[in-house]
Symmetry: C2
């Protein structure tokens, strides 16, 4: 953490709660030791001597958390959108992920991924790598060098995938995972997360062994849950003892409770599954574009929020086509409107305020006090410049923020801070 | 039309039919007198002397037709996405459109719109202006000067809108419309189209009077149809004689048949309405992003195609947030997947091929032989450069085209031809 103190000046926009965006025009965010000390319209005398990073007419928002993204799939983003999940994995995903056994390929592809992530609104991310230890370490070092705060998982999968992308036994899977965990020294901002791909990819004994590793190393867990109807039916066959998909993870001790846990998608999670996630504090990574592209459906995200579930937003590249969390906000709002119109009028569409909250505070909570400019919270901030988005009329700061959600791209990312460190 | 002959060289991608994209790598498109003379892998001897516009490794696709877009709403694209249609019109749209009574505002705002349209894949468009004659003429001249081929309509509306944006009587509406039509001399690529806003905005006698104008001037017609459930219920009250919304237009003689006609949306068109559109040759402007943003629903576009209806694609700015027809293709595919998943599995999701067809040939048909590189068809072409979209693996031309649909923006538009004229 940077231990210096300074002021970030601009039009500050940040969530107070899920339904309120605070806008402080020409506001000053005081940063000290990597955390926010307060937001001020007029800087108090005690801070008057601090250096000022003055961003003028630009917007300053909290850094965003991408709660679920596959780094090795970035190389085929925007491609192969014509299949549903299980066929899509076999046809596009597994062949591509197998290429990461070659470090030279990983160097090139992960370099591109990390560079795009740097030039996005994302300051924190929870990332799937592949089964390959050297490539996963390479990815972690690249991200660490850029200063982003991430959890990265070497993927575990030892069944129901081609020979060229499968751990050959539980013993080898655990050995590789421990080998990976033994080589993380020197990483400052990148942490490991256990990553069983999903139930169909992991034998029962691998899941139990991962549970033991989780306890031994005090690790969080990430996986996939209730994304697609075919997947859910398959899990029912594979785990006949479990009454629902989430309970299968729970039976293996990999579904939150005494450890942090993210489950991606939860498009079709029923009442029982939602109840268990609530009880266990499981985070839901809502991945709206991916859920559209793979024709999975739309999770009832407002229902999740109203029940008090932890929910964040995710790009899920390459189910999603883009690393932009602004686009993920757009897709979340759009998908929620179609869910409301076409399926279920008991769950209201997402407001802009809630989409912003999900992208910042919702996912940020997985990292602790992250995702807004509250005193004592991490100083993660992104400076947004919409000078290239012409408009003939005066726009409020709130309007400019909404507009950038639909129109901005990496050209609008003018600066970025993580834990007070200026990384862009 | 340019009367010179030349060759456009690059990776040519164009629809043969709704389900087939032809890809000719390093192909040569021969252009003469503004029309395509053929696509060749090897240039025949008779064309060997022609000058070559060599675009190397870039892709060359037919120009796209935006079949429905509101030029005056471009100024608030990406804003005010929290309301459904009728409230949205009153809250955001009508106040903004009223500003175009000031020519200085129109100059600034339409300048921005025209500039964005130029730097997009759009070569043809059917455009709503506002009720204001001078501003509509200004827009038409701007578009004409850029060389785009468009239909532009001065809007008619004389009821159910605020005083500040309403024609005060049928007489005044017709007088203004004739005044507008009398000042189109000198326009080479921009044509007028009658534009009653929609049934709720126009009294019966205005509609009958517009029918007479249409016959007198041999004009095409554009309007809105069956976009939103509240709108449809309102039309039922306003036109009790009509059995369905489309029949109301038809009773006024403004629903195709002996004239060209575009109806935007058709999200909720029932069997009878679809049958009448088929019989009358009405074009449907499918506007998927707008239909998401205003929570209208999703039109069954594959059903339309299979019935033989004329369908094109539209951005419908500012119900849609973006002028990009590539993004409209993305949204069309995504919306169709959610419609299939959430509402109705009898209508399959849109394939990439069909989305491309809709954006090129589907809408192009409104302008004649437009939208593919067939002999005798208009030489409308866009050169796409994806050099800034890095990828670590070799990609086929077909894959690059799909990827650009999700990832490209105006930076990828390297050159543009309309009727053989190079306009960018």
């Amino acid at each position: 953490m940077g231990n210096e103190a300074y002021i970030i000046k601009g039009h500050l926009c940040y969530s107070r709660d899920a339904d309120t965006i605070e806008v402080v025009e020409n506001g000053s965010l005081v940063v000290e030791n990597g955390v926010c000390r307060g937001v001020f319209e007029t800087v108090p005398a005690r801070y008057a001597q601090l250096p000022v990073h003055d961003y003028g007419d630009r917007l300053v928002v909290p850094g965003m958390t991408d709660l679920h993204v596959h780094a090795p799939q970035f190389s085929f983003r925007g491609l192969g959108m014509d299949l549903e999940l299980l066929e899509w994995l076999n046809t596009y995903t597994f062949p591509e992920e197998s290429k990461y056994r070659e470090l030279s390929y990983a160097e090139r592809a992960y370099g591109s991924f990390a560079d795009h992530l740097l030039h996005s609104t994302t300051t924190r991310a929870c990332i799937f790598a592949t089964i390959h230890v050297p490539a996963t370490l390479l990815l972690m070092r690249k991200l660490d060098a850029l200063g982003l705060c991430t959890y990265v998982g070497k993927v575990n999968m030892n069944r129901n995938s081609p020979d060229y992308l499968r751990e050959t036994s539980t013993r080898q899977a655990i050995r590789d995972t421990e080998l990976w965990l033994s080589q993380l020294e020197g990483l400052r901002h990148t942490r490991p997360i256990l990553t069983p791909r999903f139930i169909p990819s992991c034998t029962d004994d691998l899941m139990y062994a991962l549970h033991d590793l989780r306890e031994q190393y005090s690790l969080p867990v990430q996986s996939h849950l209730s994304e697609n109807l075919g997947e859910i039916a398959w899990v029912r066959e594979l785990c006949p003892r479990a009454k629902f998909y989430g309970q299968a993870y729970d039976q293996f001790g990999l579904f939150g409770g005494d450890h942090k846990c993210i489950m991606a998608h939860c498009v079709h999670s029923d009442e029982r599954e939602q109840e268990l996630m609530l009880k266990n504090g499981v985070f839901i990574a809502h991945s709206p574009e991916s859920n559209m592209n793979l024709a999975s459906g739309v999770a009832p995200v407002n229902q999740f929020l109203e029940r008090g579930l932890h929910v964040g937003l995710a790009t899920d590249v390459a189910g999603g086509s883009h690393e932009s969390m602004l686009r993920a906000m757009m897709h979340a709002i759009q998908a929620s409107k179609l869910r409301w119109r076409l399926l279920d009028q008991t769950v209201a569409p997402l407001s802009f305020e809630r989409a912003f909250y999900l992208a910042t505070m919702g996912g940020g909570a997985f990292f602790g006090s992250v995702g807004t400019f509250r005193e004592g919270w991490a100083a993660d901030a992104v400076v947004l410049d919409d000078a290239n988005l012409d408009h003939p009329q005066d726009l409020s700061v709130r309007a400019r923020l909404e507009r950038m959600t639909y129109l901005a791209d990496e050209r609008s990312i003018a600066a970025k801070y993580v834990e007070g460190r200026k990384i862009l």
